[in-house]
């Protein structure tokens, strides 16, 4: 594999108009990534898959990462693809694409039409991070149940105060419930009955 600067240059030539940026890994890991804009990520991925110099036919790992806003920098969700080549036995090329954290705008193009292996992994990223993959054939929740409404791997996710499942709710749970709902929930069956009658 060539150096990352060379790969970036080749990809920029191959896909006209793509904005590509290099993001470094930890100094020891030596796996620099290419950050591609949302409009061109599909074309860049397709280029890497079909170009005979790369032949990235194996999309190994797909995942989301949530970055909260820091100071005046806006937060974003990053989707990371690790591409390898089975034909030439090299890799990885790490593709990253970023989308805003707001649920309505959190869209990236799906790479499932290129690699079937993305199908479940993109569903997982949708389920846990709320990234909508445009062009995914079957974008449903995969690990959480269908009725679940939130995306639990987001950094600002607050777990529900499910005190009703505890036979004797303790102080911490009661306080959390009070913070979330503004009321102290009934602590015993008798109190619950009373509350129901009211």
């Amino acid at each position: 594999m060539e150096a990352i600067e060379k790969i970036k240059e080749i990809a920029a030539q191959g896909v006209a108009g793509a904005q590509i940026e290099i993001i470094n890994s930890t100094p020891a890991a030596q796996q620099p990534a290419l950050l591609v804009d949302r409009e061109h990520v599909y074309a860049v991925a397709k280029f890497f898959k079909e170009d005979p110099r790369f032949q990235m036919d194996f999309c190994s790992c797909v995942t989301g990462v949530d970055y909260l806003p820091k100071g005046d920098k806006p937060g974003f969700i990053e989707v990371v693809y690790h591409l390898y080549s089975v034909a030439q036995k090299h890799g990885p090329i790490v593709l990253k694409v970023r989308a805003p954290r707001e649920l309505e705008q959190c869209h990236v193009p799906s790479l499932t039409p290129l690699w079937r292996g993305c199908e479940f992994q993109e569903r997982e990223a949708f389920d846990l991070y709320g990234v909508k993959f445009d062009g995914h054939p079957d974008l449903r929740r995969i690990l959480m149940w269908d009725e679940f409404t939130d995306h639990p791997m987001r950094k600002d996710y607050a777990p529900p105060a499910d005190y009703e499942w505890e036979p004797t709710p303790h102080d911490e749970t009661l306080q959390r419930a009070a913070e979330m709902h503004g009321v102290i929930p009934p602590t015993s069956m008798a109190e619950l009955e009373k509350a129901k009658k009211k």
Binding site: S25, P27, C61, V65, I142, M153
Partner: protein, 390 residues
Amino acid sequence: MIQPLTESSEKRFTLTPGPDGLIETQTLEVSIGPQHPSTHGVFRMDCVLDGETVVALKPVMGYLHRNHEQLAERMAWLGSMPYTDRLDYFNSMTNNWAYALAVEKLAGIKVPERAEYIRVIMAELSRLQNHASVIGFMLQDLGAWGTPLLYAFRERERILDLFEAASGSRMMCNYFRFGGVRVDLNDAMVAAARDITAKFPRFLDEFEKLLTSNEVLLARCQKIGILPKELAINASISGPMARASGVDYDIRKVDKYGVYGKFDFRVPLGDIGDVYDRYYIRVLEMRQSIKILEQALRDIPQGPHIAPEVKLRNFKIPPGDGYGRVEAPKGELGFYLVSDETGKTPYRYHVRPPSFINLTILEDMCLGHKVADVVIILGSVDIVLGEVDR
């Protein structure tokens, strides 16, 4: 009292042929699982059947989901090492290795040679017991109740005894540390490993004699659940499943992580990628594992078992990300880790579970086969729900 036939019931029981001369039928939706012995855990398949033939199948998972990744993001780096055991609970050693390898990659830790050898020995022993048991489970799905599985478990027992001696636990080993392994193997344990390695081929010969050319096994497994090579690569299938379809890709050979570059072994490949190939590839891989074990146990050097400069407490990683992967018995097991400025806990911790991704093409393999074959096709994929659902 006999009820007279009403007009509607008469209509219901009269079978009128359709325009093509055949009697009209309708498909039947069957939910296999989640509490079904052949799904190897709490896993569900939504099948649509036409008679006995599968016309659609959707895997449903998540019954065992516990958000492993988020739990790990709230712990110190080393804190989730014992928790990786619970991913694929059959092969805690290779899970440990994948996580340790990823962290070592991010932090730039060099592992002493003796530790690398111990890791290879433990990983290959895991592979032996995993493949033997998987074949046993698959045969169980075929209706060979107990016998092959218990033959495999008899051998597994000896390997687990060694794991227990080395790590203190039979299945949840928690044996690896960043930069090495937790405790050194003493001479008695190395001798026990040599003994297991020497006796394993005899068991394999016996196993093969009973199974490989068994008429029932051939009839039930050949030409069932064929996975073409191109689809296997495109769908990110890894491990024995991909190699049964003829994909020449073994991370031990490609990445040469640890000391795998030093050993002489071959990567067996299948021809057509049916269930039988997936059975036989595992037998052949066990033979190669024995070859690796013989070399590793012959050449194991003296020296430290863990890099002394790695701190157990206050272990930090500079900001950035990285991906490390190993060839686990089920396929490519990878960890994608992100460290932030504090560096004390993983900012992002993602597991690339092989058996989860290998399920992507379950529907493609099952279409057109009988519902009884679905069970063995799933058995040949080799899934562990602790890893699928995380």
